[in-house]
């Protein structure tokens, strides 16, 4: 079975984000990059499928800057077989990334049976690439997946919707699955895994190699700014038993009469 996993490299969740000088993007010089957290669930699920199916390969794909290959190395160290990197600037839009991933899959000459991705990347939060890629590959997609069962070529997938309710999908391969937290518990890369990863093949392509050009841009960003700071709020001391009831009464009153939200 040919299994592909799409990963993205994003700033660590504890990163303090600051717009760059001309507001065209953010300052990236001092950012710690990690694999997009949702992609870890995608990689883990791919590896579990591989373990249960002989003659399967897991190829991990990434479109992005080359200065740091943390996300791909992590996936290889977790157990993926090989990697493909499409070199690009940091500011591609979802359409360009999806098209580059499609081109990268085509270039391997392998027909995908399963394609995994995280349900969203926590940098631009667009939630577009999985669905766009599935549309370009002309395969079905199920997103926000928290449950996965596979029996031969048949899959049962649970997609989380509003209020924790689930849509239970039945589908046959090929299919694209966009993973949510809760799907599984991603493994840590072992030390031998990390050593082995260094010897695993990593193909590199340019955007032109995979058929993407500037004319594929669909979305333009500008004027990156920090959200406006709120003015300081009111703070009440209610650690003492005698103060509690009065403070709560006052705050509830303020929510009603000053903030007018109740």
């Amino acid at each position: 079975m040919n299994i592909f996993v799409c990963v993205k490299q994003v700033p660590d969740t504890e990163t303090k984000v600051t717009p760059n000088g001309d507001g065209s993007f953010i300052e990236t010089s001092s950012i710690k990059w990690i694999m997009n957290p949702y992609d870890e669930f995608a990689v883990e699920q791919a590896l579990q499928v591989k373990a249960a199916n002989a003659d399967s390969t897991v190829t991990v794909l990434r479109v992005g800057g080359v200065k740091d290959t943390e996300a791909l190395r992590t996936a290889l160290a977790m157990g993926a077989d090989d990697a493909v990197l499409v070199e690009s600037a940091d500011n591609l839009d979802s359409y360009m990334i999806a098209k580059a991933l499609k081109g990268a899959i085509d270039k391997t000459g392998k027909k995908p049976d399963l394609v995994f991705a995280g349900k969203q990347a926590i940098d631009d939060d667009c939630l577009q690439v999985p669905q766009l890629l599935a549309q370009m590959l002309d395969i079905p997609s199920v997103s926000v997946v928290v449950g996965f069962e596979m029996n031969g070529s048949k899959l049962m997938l649970k997609r989380e919707i509003e209020g924790g309710s689930l849509e239970v999908y039945e589908v046959e391969t090929p299919v694209l699955i966009a993973a949510n937290k809760g799907l599984n518990t991603p493994r840590y890369a072992s030390l031998p895994g990390i050593m082995k990863a260094k010897k695993k093949p990593m193909a590199q392509h340019s955007l032109a190699d995979v058929g993407v050009s500037d004319s594929d841009r669909r979305v333009k960003y500008s004027q990156f700014t920090l959200p406006p700071e709120k003015p300081a709020g009111k703070k009440f001391e209610a650690m003492e038993e005698g103060a509690r009831a009065g403070v709560v009464k006052e705050v509830v009153g303020l929510l009603r009469n000053e903030a007018k939200v109740i």
Partner: protein, 319 residues
């Protein structure tokens, strides 16, 4: 002036309120509304009042239940050559999944989850949060039309004035095409309440909740004020609450009118997910907890004492 289609979702005897929020910002454009299923008469009347010229109920085989392919094919067929410049929808569980696939079928661009937008000269320009709201940017769409946009629920607010149009109702029957991923069943979640992303009031618990059972006191407060209960990543990772309840950068980004944070210290990834709430109340024993820097009303106190008092006080007020 642009020709705009607002995609609405039928919910009970109305449509999801984000459709009205979107209509409120489209004054001056030529606006139609479409939904899959039957748009109830009362909703159609309301949509007309808010500026809908034509209101389309889209029907067809295998369309009762949402599937990404079925609904995307149906809308592609419906939109066809009607010449819409823009298609806007709420950033709901369905909207988030459907619109990218639909945009892809037109090879067209899409702006996700905008929190504000303008149509100066009939051209869309939006504002959207990136990095879970740690910063904002202007977003514009280029390339072939129609252009697609999802709008975060509760971000625009309900329109305060009306711009009534004819609101002619119409039924369209369309083909759902090939569906390869079918929904076999829906498993109902424990909560019948609004999803966090659509909730008007959220009561959220952090690590200080100590265990899952203690969320009971948050549920009691939530019942009184009509809120949905959320949780911080620390509470979810400790097993006190399921991930569906998580607010923050690796959970849900929310913007209710009132957010009550109970025993949440305010890690940067949590603040990113809730900072656009209109009013924030924080309850924490640590007076230096970062959550207080974002709170409109901070209470330094023990949540196990304060929350039940608050429930009692709201009960008396809303009785």
């Amino acid at each position: 002036m642009s020709k705009v289609l607002v995609f609405a979702e039928v919910q009970g005897d109305d449509v999801k309120s984000v459709a009205y929020e979107i209509l409120g910002k489209l004054s001056g454009q030529s606006v139609d509304v479409a939904a899959i299923g039957s748009i109830p008469a009362a909703a159609a009347e309301k949509l007309a009042k808010h500026g809908a010229e034509n209101i389309h109920s889209i029907k067809g085989d295998k369309l009762e239940q949402y599937t990404p392919e079925g609904w995307s094919n149906a809308l592609k067929n419906f939109i066809g050559d009607k010449g819409y410049d823009y298609v806007l929808a709420g950033s709901t569980a369905t909207g988030k999944d459907l619109l990218p696939r639909l945009a892809g079928s037109f090879d067209a661009g899409m702006a996700s989850e905008v929190v504000n937008f303008t149509f100066d000269g009939g051209t869309f320009a939006g504002t959207r949060p990136l990095f879970a709201g740690k910063c904002l940017a202007k977003v514009e769409i280029t390339g072939p039309k129609p252009h697609f946009v999802t709008v975060r629920p509760n971000a625009l607010g309900m329109p305060t004035s009306e711009d009534a149009k004819a609101g002619a109702t119409n039924e369209a029957t369309v083909d759902a095409g090939t569906i390869r991923a079918f929904v076999k069943e829906i498993v109902k979640g424990a909560s019948e309440k609004l999803d966090l992303t659509e909730a008007n009031i959220i009561v959220s618990g952090g690590r200080a909740m100590k265990n899952a059972e203690n969320f009971k006191i948050l549920n009691e407060l939530a019942d009184v004020v009509g809120a949905t209960v959320g949780a911080s990543r620390a509470a979810v990772d400790s097993g006190y609450a399921p991930h569906a309840m998580q607010v923050g950068q690796t959970g849900k980004t929310v913007s209710p009118s009132l957010y009550i944070a109970c025993g949440i210290s305010g890690a940067i990834q949590h603040l990113a997910g809730m900072r656009t709430s209109k009013v924030i109340v924080a309850i924490n024993t640590d007076p230096d907890a970062p959550i207080f820097t974002k709170a409109d009303y901070g209470i330094v106190g023990d949540l196990f004492e304060i929350v039940p008092l608050m429930t009692k006080e709201f009960k008396a007020l809303l009785g």
